[in-house]
């Protein structure tokens, strides 16, 4: 295995085969490799395994339970997501004044009222019926995109209202646009209502502490959503045009996905799956950087010796005695939160031990006979380093590369848990941070708290096991001791 730089490709393959055969003898190493392959698979196919964007809020109610909880009777009838989009074809025109024309333009509903020779008020009622059979939800919301255009009829008014009617006939006004006497487009930024809105609660006669969903959607059966458009036209020859976009009505479910939702209504399972990428990236990249830095410093210090060695080792000691975590915390707070800064900081503070080991190793090689003779026949420093020293270091490089990863992964998780990670990147540490500070503990949401930590642990464990096996295979000294 030490002879990895052999040129013939087939020879390399046999070495790899030998290595794998040997790895078979170390069952724990094989276990580590297996776990690692699973993680890499998850990281690569994350978008397929979890199709939901991990950062998208409002996918369901906040703190939703996992969907499979429905097998337990007390959770079985909790509300599911009911997301309704109502376009032109879905509306039922309940009643309308005669001189109004209603046309569809794709999903859009276009209502046109022409002015006549007197001031006229007209009403149009659109209705949509849906069935709701779950327990009362905590939250619902709706969006009403509309556009008002008044052509040559200044002084005309439009007013749009939205109602919901329960199966037993109770009626609630959810939205009121008030009078609009000017051209207005709310197609891009739709008018909306939300059951969490305190003014809405007060307007409907409830206390600010009530959940509107529980108060309104507490019957099972057919609910009717009504949209009423009131139009007042002035005398003249102009017209008024109201365009209604696709109206949304959402009942936020309290059962969602594989692991429910967090405090913002983001999918926890999606976060868990995508978190694999960050941990692997940080672990591997930080380990590669730290091993490279340690290798360069160690080789230079060990090979050159003298004053260079002393300066480099002094610098190494300085970093070694500096409290790493507190300093990283301070630096990442002061400079800013970014994934690559995090990786750089983790790498910057973890190469020292390897540099010291390499230096000791290089020193012993440097003083050996064959290096002396290579020097005697005029070999350059570079030649000696690449031809004689580096090949001998290969086993420790491999071992250290693997052994450094768990430390970096745990440090990344810790930083993210302290909310010092990149806020745009889903990571296991950040999941635990939000679980801690958004009340997952008070609600005893173990499905939010336990999986990310276990994911960290098993990924770190995979590298630890693999590292130990590599150590036994590649490190001849240890093998003798066995």
């Amino acid at each position: 295995m030490i002879e990895l730089k052999s040129t013939a490709r087939s020879e390399k393959l046999t070495i790899l085969k030998d290595f794998l055969l040997e790895l078979k003898l170390y069952k724990t190493g094989l276990l580590g490799l297996g776990i690692l392959i699973v993680y890499i698979f998850i990281a690569i196919f994350a978008p397929i395994i979890a199709p939901v964007d991990p950062n998208e809020p409002g996918l369901a109610d906040s703190y939703a339970y996992p969907e499979w909880f429905s097998i337990f009777p007390e959770y079985s009838n909790l509300p599911r997501n009911v997301f309704i989009n109502i376009g032109y074809n879905d509306w039922l025109v309940k009643d309308t004044s005669e001189d109004i024309s209603i046309n569809g333009d794709g999903e859009y509903t276009i209502i046109i009222a022409h002015c006549s020779d007197r001031i006229e008020t007209r009403t149009i009622t659109l209705e949509y019926t849906f069935t709701y059979t779950y327990d009362p939800p905590k939250r619902f919301s709706g969006r009403i995109p509309f556009r008002v255009a008044i052509y040559n009829a200044t002084g005309s008014y439009i007013r749009i209202k939205c109602y919901i009617m329960t199966p037993k006939g109770r009626m609630y006004e959810l939205y009121d646009s008030m009078s609009i006497a000017y051209n207005l487009s709310r197609l891009e930024t739709p008018a909306s209502y939300d059951a969490r809105d305190i003014y809405l609660k007060l307007k409907l006669g409830f206390s600010p502490h009530d959940d509107l969903g529980e108060k309104i959607l507490n019957e099972k059966g057919e609910y009717r959503l009504q949209l009423k458009v009131f139009i007042l036209t002035v005398k003249g020859s102009g017209r008024v045009e109201v365009t209604l976009g696709v109206k949304q009505f959402r009942v936020y479910g309290r059962l969602y996905g594989v692991l429910g939702t967090d405090n913002l209504g983001c999918d926890i399972f999606s976060n868990l799956i995508y978190g694999t990428r960050v941990s692997l990236l940080v672990g591997v990249l930080a380990s590669v950087i730290s091993v490279s830095v340690g290798l360069v410093v160690g080789i230079i210090a060990g090979y050159k010796g003298g004053i260079v060695d002393q300066i480099l080792m002094y610098f190494t000691d300085t970093l070694l005695f500096t409290p790493i975590l507190p300093l990283i915390i301070a630096v990442s707070v002061f400079i800013g939160k970014s994934l690559y800064l995090e990786i750089a900081l983790i790498a910057l503070f973890s190469w020292m031990g390897f540099a010291r080991n390499t230096r000791a190793y290089v020193m012993s090689i440097r003083d050996s006979m064959y290096v002396e003779s290579a020097k005697a026949i005029g070999a350059s420093d570079m030649y000696i380093i690449f031809r004689h020293i580096l090949p001998q270091l290969t086993p420790i490089i491999y071992i250290t590369l693997v052994m450094r990863v768990p430390g970096a992964i745990l440090l990344e998780a810790t930083l993210s848990f302290l909310n010092l990670g990149d806020p745009s990147v889903p990571s296991w540490g950040r999941m635990l941070y939000s679980a801690r500070y958004a009340g997952a503990f008070f609600r005893f949401m173990w499905w939010w708290i336990i999986p990310p930590g276990l994911a960290i642990t098993f990924l770190a464990l995979a590298f630890v096991l693999l590292g130990h096996a590599l150590d036994e295979i590649l490190n001849p000294k240890l093998r003798v001791r066995r």
């Binding site: 000691d317 970093l319 005695f321 500096t322 507190p326 400079i335 001791r481």
Partner: protein, 332 residues
């Protein structure tokens, strides 16, 4: 005897200079990373975060001058190092109180928690490690190795969170936050009991994550010695395994044990930051974290300085102890 003492003194002097130099360079590094890099390279003004934005530019300038932020870098650095070494830790930007007074409020709690955990780790680690190596190859040994490796993969904060979840939130046996009840009990016995009750979970978290690794380290260290001649001699004399381990092997492996314990010091402080944050323990670690997030420079610098000095002093003491134990070291 005098020659021996002289050698030791010379060694101690040389070591003291080395260690002091490391403190200075560590402070330089901190100054570069915390003051020079954000402000002079990246252009982040620390005073931006605590100055009232309604103040005029002149008023802001006066306040900056009061805190000495307008002086040239080098003089800021010299002042900073000098004041640290003379024990003037300055005033917190945030609470406007002397850093020293605030430090003294929190230090006893941290020392209590981490001191206890360190002592217990050493004792338990030695016991478990020595038992494991005495029974090497048995099921006990294998389970020590396995569980140590498994636990080393757990992040400290996660162990803390799990303990909180199970014993704090679910079973409600232990408090979920704080280091003492409010108001603190008057009766001294009940005060101590209350403190221990608050300490139980953080202490357990620290122990769970550190004992395994230390026991494994002790086990492997002992294992390297077992083939040595003196061990064979001791066994041939008819000593029991227990006597061999405690009287002969332990003495021979003491130097690396002491070194690793001294090197653990920075790790202990990191542990303080995490544990105290998870369990809302009123100590230096959480203070440092809060101060860092509030851009409270004097506090951050003071705490980092104290930690570096403590680390270096503990390493220095370790050097001397090792030199006393093993005279060969002094000749190097």
């Amino acid at each position: 005897m005098s020659a021996r003492g002289g050698g030791l003194l010379k060694y101690m002097g040389k070591r003291a200079i080395d260690r002091a130099a490391v403190v200075i360079s560590s402070l330089t590094l901190q100054f570069l990373l915390l003051r020079v890099l954000p402000y002079y390279v990246l252009g982040i003004d620390p005073s931006f975060f605590f100055l009232n934005p309604n103040l005029t530019e002149e008023q802001k300038e006066i306040i900056r001058r009061q805190f000495g932020l307008d002086e040239p870098l080098l003089s800021q650095f010299v002042k900073y190092v000098l004041s640290l070494f003379t024990g003037q830790l300055g005033f917190s930007f945030y609470t406007r109180r002397p850093v020293y007074a605030e430090l003294m409020e929190r230090l006893p709690n941290t020392v209590l928690l981490l001191g206890t955990s360190t002592v217990l780790t050493i004792i338990l680690g030695l016991i478990i490690g020595i038992i494991a190596v005495s029974k090497r190859g048995t099921r006990f040994d294998a389970s020590v190795i396995g569980s140590s490796i498994f636990i080393s993969a757990f992040p400290l904060f996660y162990v803390g969170l799990l303990l909180l979840l199970v014993f704090g939130f679910y079973l409600k046996w232990f408090p979920i936050a704080g280091s003492i009840s409010r108001p603190p009990p008057r009766d001294p016995v009940r005060y101590v009991a209350d403190l221990l009750w608050h300490m139980a979970l953080p202490l357990t978290a620290l122990l769970v994550t550190s004992v395994g690794g230390f026991a494994l380290f002790i086990r492997n260290l002992f294992l390297t010695q077992l083939g040595e001649d003196y061990v064979i001699t001791a066994r041939a004399k008819g000593l029991t395994e227990r006597e061999v381990m405690l009287k002969h092997v332990l003495r021979n492996v003491l130097a690396p044990v002491i070194t690793i314990l001294a090197l653990e010091f920075p790790g202990i402080i990191s542990g303080a930051v995490i544990t105290e944050t998870v369990f809302s323990w009123y100590g230096v670690g959480r203070w440092l974290f809060d101060a860092a997030t509030q851009f409270d420079y004097p506090v951050v610098q003071a705490v980092l300085f104290i930690q570096v000095v403590l680390t270096v002093i503990s390493l220095y003491i370790a050097d001397i102890v090792i030199a006393l134990l093993d005279p060969r070291v002094r000749l190097r």
